[in-house]
Each structure stands twice: as C-alpha cells, then as structure tokens.
Amino acid sequence: MSDRIINDISDLYHMLDAAIQLEHATIPPYLTALYSIHPETNIEASAAIRAVLVEEMLHMTLSANVLNAVGKHPDLTASDFVPDFPTRLPDGETDFMVSIDKFSPETLETFLKIERPSKTQVEDNKMGPRGCIVRNNNAAFQLKAISPKRAQEYSFYSIGDFYEAIIEGVEYLEAQANQNGSTIFTGDPSLQVSSKYYYSGGGHVIEVTDKASAIQALSLIIEQGEGHGHAIFDSEGEISHYYRFEQLKLGQFYKLGDEPSKPSGEKFEVDFEKVYPIKCNPKMADYPKDSQIFAAAKAFNLNYQQFLSMVNKAFRGEQDLLLGAVCGMFRLKEHASQLIRNPIPNEPRSHGGPTFEVTGQDTTQIDDDRCIAETV
C-alpha cells in the first residue's frame, strides 16, 4: 500500500465530502451551547462561541468550493451526513465524545478538544497511510473524516492530519494531471460560492479555480481552527479557536504578545448558572409523543433538513438560495431557542433541545416563499 492517502480523484472526492461533513458536525453542538445561554448574559462566552460557529460555516463553504472546483458537488442530503450525537472525534492516541449539550465547564472542555492545535504523529509509521494509526475502537467512529477510504482499518491521528492529507492529495493529483497537460480543476467556476452571497465577520470566502486557491482555502481552514503552531494570534491579529475558548475557561482575554495560558487582557465573568439545563443529546424518543415539545422538535428537524437541502442546492448552482438559507437559519435559531426554554414534560429538571435527527431525504418541498453565517 502506498503511504499516500489520496491516489486518485475519487479519493479526493471522498475526503472533501468527509471534510464538509466534519465541518458541519461541529455546528449542532456549538449552536446548542450558544442558544442555551440566557439572553443578555455571558456576553463574552456567547461572542466566542458565535465567532467560532461562524467560522465553521465558512469552513464548510470553503470545502464545498474546493469540491466543486474539482468537478463534484457536495451532498448535504446524504442519509449519513448528519451524525448521530454523541459522536467521536480523534485526539491523537485517544478520542473524545462530542455532544449536543448546554454550555457548561464540560462542554467547554470538549470545545477545547475539538479546536486543540493539531497533534502530529512522529513519522515512525511505516506500515499504514501517512498520519494514521490503528485504533481498537475504530468502528465507534461515525464521521467519514476519520478513516481513509481505502484503509478503513486505520484512522487519522488528528483532524490536522486529515487536512494535511487533502492538501497533499491536491498537490499530487494536480502535478500528475499537469504532466498530461490537463488539470483536476475542471469544475464549473459559476458554482463557486462568492462573497456576493456569502460574507460575514468570519472571513472572506475564497473562490477556488486552481491549485493555488484550493490550497489557500484549505490552509485558511487549518489556520482559523488551530492557529499556526502554538501562536495565539494570527498575522492579522485574529485569535485562533482554541485560545478563544481557553479565555472562557480562564475568564480573561488574551492580548497580543501574551504567552499561552497567561492572558493579560480584560477580565470577565462566565456564569454557568445562567444557562438552560438542556438534556444532553436529546432524542425525539425523550419527548412524549402528544406533547407540544415533541411537535416543535419534530418541526425543527424538518426545518433543519430543509435548510440543508437549500444549502445543498446553493452549492449546486442556485447560489441565490444562500440568501434564503440565511433567513431559514435565523428562523431555526428562534425555534431552537424556544425548545431550549421548555422543560421536558415529566422531566421538569431537564429542558428540551433540538435533536438534529435528520433522515437525509431530499426535501424538495422547500418553504421557499420565505427566506448562514451571519445568523447566529
């Protein structure tokens, strides 16, 4: 077996599909934690989660642009696109669970793990694909981004290794294609989501048309998520996700020039009491069938599926649907907030929450007489 993970274009398709799924998978946990916070409280915590969430949406869009650029459309309506929470992510030798849950010290720890600067394995792995190891619980992982397609018995050492593999694949395949006088960037440029339809404080979307722009897009994902090495701020003074969250743990902002774990900026309070007590990883089965909360949670899932369908279409050429999808997202936010503020009948100490149990059928009946990143 080759050391390289991506050896042909179908490998690359698979990996980019997996990247989109992975970026999306962080959205339900961040979204739920964000909306669990009582309104008008925890301003700093809300702002931090919101900022990260907005960038995850950008990352999803960037991955979709890369995939479209190499000639394949994303599929957000695939039946396994939304994972069943809790779901596992790799963290070096170990792994951890990501849940749909309220904002709490434990949730914050999980967020820190999601965004932890990449652990890269020492290069002593002669046997398997680069950046991968064998795990005995490999089967417990749901997300496609965990294992290389051709070596399912292996899993990536970390998320950073996953993205490194994509960049390596893009470079390899494009070099091969160039030798034959062709290119892998054969996608329709009009499918690229542009800043006309997507912009937010989370950075500018990059239209991908060639190797350089593809690598720029993929590097931006890596940089925003993990920062460069252990740098707290990037060259533009933006703080990376990990340190953004760490500030919430430490109750103090970082300033330029600070050392990790030693912020010297303004102090602030994080009040974990000012949070609705959402049941961890709620499922439809937790809600009595004839209750109002059941109906609302069901409606939320349907709306969420419609939202994914709309984004899916937007990634397939109907870009102006992104405007409508943004509005749909705003409404989802209101629906999620309502669920989160309602106690579960017969379980009054636990509040409801969106379950994100999406069946993955393409709901063509989009509520399109009404109307991503700017919504949260």
Partner: protein, 641 residues
C-alpha cells in the same frame, strides 16, 4: 480584529495641550460625527496630524459599550431616537420626548434646546462618539441638480455657489465611505446623473413586501401640478447599510463592506438583517456610522482623540482675525460637573459639531460676523405623516425602517408656489405617529376589551396592515428661523444652550397641504382606511386654509452657517472656510443654503470631501511633512474612478 485595532488611541487633556503647544497639530477638529470623521480620515491619510475633541465619552468604541447602548434601548420604556444614549448633563442632547405644546410668548426650557417658538421643533441630534450617525436612518439620497439653484429657477430660498456637477465627484467618494447600497438604474431620475459606468458599491436592498403592496395600488397615479403631470412610481431608496457588494464597482475591483466595529474578538456579520431598528440603533452595525471612519483615521496613527472635551469658546487673534485657540472644558465623569479648562492650538480649526452646535459655539464666543448670518436661516425637513390600515396583512414592522418611497413630487414648476416633497413608505407602520405597535396593544386590551384568539387576530389586523406615509417637505432659507444663545440658559458646565426660533412659511404649509391631498388619493386607491388625524393639542399643530395639520421635525438641522459667494451674503465660502477667519472651517449641513428634498447626510459628506481636498492643498503650501501622492491616492481611492 485585534484589540489594538479596534479601539482608538485616546490622549489626555494635558498631553493634547502639550502637543498643541509644541505645534504638533495641523488641524484641530471639534466633533466626531460624520463630518469630523471624514475630514480626520482624509487629513491623516495625507500625513497631517489631527487632534479631535469630542464632547461625549468614547465608551461605545468597545463591544461592551456598544452592547450597553442596546441594553439601554431594550429596557427604556420610551423608544425615541435618543433612547439608547445615556443622558449626559455635561453635553446634553435634545430629545423629542422633551417637546410639548408651546404657550405663545413663553420659552419652553425643559429640554436641552430652548424652544422659543412660535412652533416647537422636535428634531434631535446625538452627542455621542460617532455623532448623529449613531441614530440616523441612513437613507442616503443625492440632491437633485435643480436643488442647487432654487432662487434662480423658482424664485424661492437661496442658491448654492456651486452646482451638482461640482459636487458629483465628491458624492462618489461619500458613497464609497458610507458604503451605499443602490442600483444606478433606479436612481437616475429628475436630472440626477452619474459618471459613465458608475455603479454603487453594493446592490440595492430588496423592497419590502409592504412596498410591493403599495406600488401595486398606486404606481401610475397621475397628478397635475402647475400644468405638469406627475406620474407616481414607487422607487427604492439608496441605503447607507451593507447589502450585497457589486462586483462591477470601481472598474471591476468590487467593494469590501465595512463590518461591525468595536468587536474585539467578536465576528459580527456586516449585512443588514432587517432588524427594523435603524433608528435609533442598528444592533448588528450593518448601518454605517461615523465610528467606522474614525477607526480608519485612527489607524494612521496620526489622529489624537480626546473624548469628554467640550469646546466652549473660539478665541480670535486680534491682529489678523485668525483663530488663536479653542478653549475646552474637560470633565472626568458624566456624573459630576467637575471639569478643567484648557486651550488648544493648531494651524487650522474645523468646527464639525452640527448645524446647531457649530452656530451655538460661534455665537457663545461672541465673534463679530460680517454677514450677521451665523445661526440664521435654520432649516430642517418638515414631515407630515398620514396613516391608514390596508385591507390585508402587508407584513408591516419588517425590514429596514424604510426601503422605498416616491420621488415624483420633488421636482417641477410647482416649486414656484409650494414646497416640493419626497415620500417615505414606513416599514415600521404607524410608530412615528401613534406610538405603534405598543399603543395598539394598549388600546386593544384596555379599550376594545380583546382577549384570547380575538386579541391575537386583532393584533394581526391592527398592526400587520398598517401603512404610514411620511412626506418630507422642503424648507427654504428664512432668516427669522434661527438658533441663538442666551446667558440665561446654561448647561451643567456653564456653556450656553441653543435657543430655537422656528416657524413654517406659507410656502412650506402649501407643500404640506398638497402632500396630505396626495395621501388621500393613495389611500383611496389602496382601499385603505385613513386613520390620520391632526389634533389641535399636538405640539406641531397648525392650520392652513381652514384645515388642521401637524408637522414633525426631520432631524436635518441645516443652514446656520450658509455658504455663498461673499462675506456679505454668507458665513463660509464654497470650501466651508469662514469668510471672517482664514484658519477656521465650519463644516456640515450648516453650510447648506438649501436642502431640497434629500436627507442631508450624503450632501454634507460630499462637502466634507471637497473641504478636505481644499485644506490639504492649503496646508501643503506650508510644506508640512506630507506623505507621497501615491499613498494619498490609495487612501482616497474613490476619486480615481
């Protein structure tokens, strides 16, 4: 954005005084609203050193400070246009809630502005960092070419010393700075023209559903006025808020919208979300406010910003009548009147407070004036409101405050005999007229005794069907409308308060009456029930030809230091430079000799670009250490298109 970038460097009064004694400052600008901010940005981009004094604190430059404005607004039982902004006795501001019906011959001193009458004017401005752009609505219209010469063409008001063509390149620069969303194809009417190939920085905002309902009912309605037929067409307004960037802008370079400020580690999206709250505060900062320009100026490192410094006196050098220094009072807390008094020196001085405060400061400084016109010719747009209920739910209370209106009464021969007007279709329903929607809830529960399903249905029928037209009527220059000062009326720091003398001419009233006439035709065509009523108890009440009306101020104070062709007929020249003091500029809408039927901000911003260019050229002659022209071109950008 890093913390360092998001807050402005502030100086202490002592270091500002020290710097000024060391002749550091090329320009001293009083006021951090849009006029001062644009001038500061232009001058610092050219390498000049600027000191800016701001009467208010600068807390809103942080995210927390901005959020506190929002919380104030949410919690404030009154939702008037200054409700988010805390009361500051050391630099008070007018509030519409202070205005009540005047008794003849008795000045009303309740509010900051003393109302001397005969009519009470409820217009306001905002004395916070960023000025009145914090609460402005951000409809951003160019003036019609005819508006610059109404005296010559229609025999009313005053002419400008410059024309639309003179201002055209500066309009472009202002539209770039503010980030205007509009489509040229929909805006070039009644003489408005653009450079060939020009597009606005962003595409026009979509019209509201309400706009579409109204357009369907009234488009094509014809009115004959002074022998000319005016055919009505509902058109979208240019908006000073972020929409979709136009990729064709700037010869295909596109446009990058300026997002929210004061967002240290907060990534707020910059696109309008339809919060329906442009006035008094856009919660997502999609709407332009002058802090965006201020921060850009501060990034040059050449802007020293001194908040909590209230300019109190302009002092003249007896020898050549130039300004020698400006005196200011610095306070350390809004809860105490304790303050220190300082003097500041500079090569030139720019008063950029606003039309009322500029005149107030000049008058309080007791400077002689060749024209005697400082404070006179006070103008504002006069609003008549007409409100009705549509036969169906029109989705009122959604969108920006106002997305479309009617421009077809802004022009024409009718201007010889009655004031022209623009028309706004208000997406916020009857709010301005009746206090809707809260007033509707009160009346449904307490008077109509609704509850349950009937209540809920009535809420829909009463609110979602609302339609309010606001007619913005031109007011022409009239020396008897004025701002003065009086030793008797002082604020907490001992500064003289503005005294307003205000009346409507028959020319204005005829325009108002005609606008009411058009509203009746519109309501009829829409099948809407007309709910307009103008009580004689209202503070804006007047009668005209036997009919009752009331008016509202448009918050477009202007004309108090008009520009003209010589020291006898005006206070400033076409570059807003004082005729009497060769190192003093009075900038902003106070310089406008007529205001047409356009909200004043775009035109005053364009004037500030013209003035900045002039100041830079003038100071260049002193040969100060200025940066190269190529840097300047990058900074000013829009002029090169």
């Amino acid at each position: 954005m890093s913390e360092e970038n998001s807050t402005m460097k502030q100086v202490t009064p002592d270091s500002a005084v020290q710097n000024s004694a060391n002749r550091k400052y090329d320009a001293v600008i009083i006021g951090s609203g849009i006029s001062g901010a644009i001038t500061a940005k232009e001058l610092t981009a050219k390498g000049l050193n600027v000191l800016m004094l701001e009467a208010a604190p600068a807390k809103d430059m942080s995210y927390k400070g901005f959020k506190s404005y929002l919380s104030n607004y949410y919690a404030n039982a009154s939702k008037d246009n200054n409700s988010p902004y805390p009361d500051n006795p050391n630099a008070r501001m007018p509030r519409s809630t202070d205005v009540s019906k005047l008794k003849p011959g008795v000045a009303d001193t309740k509010g900051y502005m003393v109302q001397n009458g005969p009519l009470a004017l409820d217009s306001t401005y905002t004395r916070v960092t960023g000025g009145t752009t914090m609460h402005w609505e951000a409809k951003i219209l160019r003036m019609l070419p005819d508006d610059f010469s109404i005296k010559t063409k229609y025999g009313v008001g005053l002419d400008w010393p410059i024309s639309y063509d003179d201002l055209m390149p500066f309009y472009q620069m202002a539209e770039r700075e503010i980030g205007v969303s509009a489509d040229v194809e929909e805006q070039g009417f009644y003489g408005i023209k653009y450079e060939p190939g020009y597009v606005y920085p962003m595409y026009g905002l979509p019209p509201s559903y309400l706009d579409k309902v109204v357009a369907q009912g009234i488009d094509g309605t014809e009115f004959v006025l002074s022998g000319e037929t005016h055919t009505v067409k509902v058109r979208p307004f240019p908006q000073g808020r972020n929409g979709i960037p136009n990729e064709r802008y700037n010869k295909g370079q596109g446009f990058t919208p300026v997002g929210a400020l004061s967002t240290y580690q907060v990534e707020h999206g910059g696109r309008c979300q339809g919060n329906n709250n442009c006035v008094p505060i856009c919660p997502v900062q999609a709407k332009y406010d002058a802090r965006k320009t201020l921060v850009a100026a501060a990034k040059t490192g050449r802007l020293d910003f001194l908040p909590q410094a209230v300019a109190s006196k302009v002092v003249v050098n007896e020898r050549d009548n130039s300004i020698q220094h400006i005196e200011f009072k610095h306070y350390s807390s809004t809860s105490s009147t304790e303050h220190t008094v300082h003097q500041i020196h500079g090569k030139i001085f720019v008063l950029a407070t606003n039309a009322i405060e500029n005149a107030r400061l000049m008058l309080a400084s007791k400077l002689p004036s060749s024209s005697g016109l400082i404070g006179k010719n006070l103008m504002d747009h006069t609003y008549l409101l007409a409100w009705g209920l549509l036969p169906e739910a029109a989705g009122t209370m959604r969108g920006t405050k106002c997305t479309s209106g009617i421009a077809d009464f802004r022009h024409g021969e009718g201007r010889k005999s009655q004031a022209p007007f623009g028309v706004d279709i208000h997406n916020d329903g009857w709010g301005w007229a009746t206090g809707s929607p809260f007033a509707d809830i009160e009346s449904l529960v307490d008077e109509e005794n609704k509850f349950g399903r009937e209540m809920r249905q009535s809420v829909v029928d009463r609110i979602s069907n609302q339609l309010l037209f606001a007619f913005m009527v031109e007011q022409t220059a009239d020396e008897s409308n004025s701002v003065t000062v009086d030793e008797e009326y002082l604020d907490a720091l001992g500064n003289q308060r503005p005294v307003i003398h205000y009346q409507l001419s028959d020319y204005s009233k005829a325009g108002i009456a005609y606008s009411r006439h058009t509203s009746k035709v519109f309501f009829q065509r829409l099948g809407a029930k007309d709910f307009s009523s103008y009580s004689s108890l209202d503070y804006g009440h007047f009668q005209y030809e036997g009919e009752d009306y009331y008016f509202r101020g448009g918050n477009h104070f202007s004309g108090t230091h008009i520009m003209g062709t010589c020291a006898k007929n005006s206070v400033v020249d076409e570059n807003q430079k004082s005729w009497d003091h060769n190192n003093l500029y009075l900038i902003g809408s106070g310089s406008m000799p007529s205001i047409g039927t356009s909200n004043t901000t775009l035109t005053l911003a364009a004037l500030c670009y013209k003035t900045s260019k002039h100041i830079i050229e003038a100071l260049n002659q002193y040969s100060v250490g200025v940066v190269s022209d190529s840097d300047y071109k990058i900074a000013k950008g829009a002029s090169n298109e």
